[in-house]
Amino acid sequence: MEIDTTQLFAVFGTEVKLAVLALVLILTDLFIGKGKLTGPADAVRLVTFLGLGLVLADSFTLVPVLGADWGTLDSFAIYFKRFFLVTALFIMGLSGPYEARFPAGRAEFPILIVFTTLGMCMLASVNDFVTLFVGLELVTITLFLLAAFRPQLPRSIEAGIKFVIVGALAAAFLVYGLAFVYGSTGSFGFAEVSAVVNNGEPMSGALTFGLLMVLVGLSFKIGVVPFHVWVPDVYQGAPTPVTAFLSVGSKAAGVVLLMRVVYTVLGPAASEWTTLLAGLAGLTLIMGNLGAIPQKDLKRFLGYSGIAHAGFLMMAFATHTQDSATAILFYMTTYLFANIAAFLVIVVVSRTADDAGFDRINGLRDRSPFLAIVFIIAMLSLAGVPPTAGFIAKFMILRAAMEQAMHDPAMMALVVLGLVMIVVGLYYYLCVIKRVFMRDAKDTSVLEISGWTKGLLLLCVLVIVVLGCYQAPLVELAGEGASSLF
């Protein structure tokens, strides 16, 4: 077999550029301001921003390449590549006010972010299980390192060690499942496996077992019950920019892979899995929403909120129609902006402190009205209140699920549960918002926000509100991405 390099670069052009960027960053770190702590770090940051920005701009020139041997560049892959690049840029912006807390490794932090982004972009294009496994591990292992990136801080180390154990366990299940998928179909390619799954005969026991184990390995990434136990601990302990990256980027990576596996590989056969997926969605919704109520730490709270959102995503997987796939793409985008805004506020209000207790947002109204408004809009979007984008996203998922619920009692029960959980969610998000107005702050000093941070926050809020009122272009883009899966 000859390697067709033109085709290879056409499919994996973004990844090649990111790899070059990572190498350039390592050299920048090495040669500019050698030996000084702040010099190289700032140079590396600047180059990272420029590089990621260029790659993102370049991603708008991508055209779909189908039928390649190593991967696929359909509109779904392009949508998520842009998503991951935007996320990485936001994480870099978010790490700005935080970064001074890394006594060393300031320059390595952006480099690892670039490597993780590379892995995520690669996952958007996979069409075989080998690349899926390697790409997933590239993302997961760099995130292990990032979660423990402040080893002088016990809770960061603790987050790292818990993440490593659960992540490695999930990888072991994934590999064991892939062995059975391979053994029962004779191939690792998505198309070949899908052909065996949908050949009209009942699935062999080995194939069912293998796919089940693969689902186990992947659902850990997005925090679906019963593989959600790591989420609150790791979210609370990891450095805040890393938590934001985990909650948006890493979850989206899991969503991308689950979408490929559920919509493309399982295809029509997924209707046999509806009950299982719906059951997991229900349990995840309950665990996430009820777990969030008694929380006292903002990052841990957002961890449980993330589990609840994973429940809604699982509801869309259980629905398994093209509308539900469109809804997932839209949902992830609104989740990106709302979550980044919330974490950026957390970085600013917790300033030099290492914990993010609820009392940090007490009386935020007086300390910085701007931050208070941003935080409220982000929370309302996460809760799904109109006119924010989060409302439209939840509405799309529930509408798609309702269509299936007409002839499936399990889905009907799930939709009802989803509606109840939205109300529960409203309760705890409002409790958090209440603190902004009702409680008095211990530290009443005015919060200073740099222009950059202000700009980022403004951008997030604008997107949330605009998408809440005028979402047609993004829905169309998401629909185009979703259609290439079917």
């Binding site: 292992i141 790292g160 154990i165 391979y182 004779g186 609150p232 609370q236």
Partner: protein, 107 residues
């Protein structure tokens, strides 16, 4: 005659033992060893499947399973290196490698 089932049952038993090790041991290093045992069992299943695969139309079998084992071994090496450096950092900071002692954040 040793068939595919023999290898698969062996790999299943070893995988389960690794899982027991992960759930039973409290020492981080031994938990990681349990995970490695599980990965190794999965590798055995992959190679066994590859050896008993039905040949294609041209009568040959592609070594896909063996190539995948190659990748899992490389990835496991990276994973172990990262996990152990975090375990060492844990030990230096908290003077323990027992997962029960690491409970400032509730599970």
């Amino acid at each position: 005659m040793i068939g595919l089932e023999h290898y698969l049952y062996l790999s299943g038993v070893v995988f389960t033992l690794g899982l027991c090790g992960v759930m039973m041991r409290r020492n981080v290093i031994l938990v990681l060893m349990g995970v490695e045992i599980m990965l190794n069992a999965a590798n055995l299943a992959l190679v066994a499947f590859n050896k008993f695969m039905l040949p294609g139309a041209d009568g040959t079998v592609a070594p896909d399973g063996q190539v995948f084992v190659f990748f899992t071994i490389a990835v496991a090496a990276a994973e172990v290196a990262v996990a152990l450096v975090i375990a060492v950092a844990l030990f230096r900071r908290l003077d323990t490698v027992n997962v029960d002692d690491v409970a400032n954040l509730r599970w």
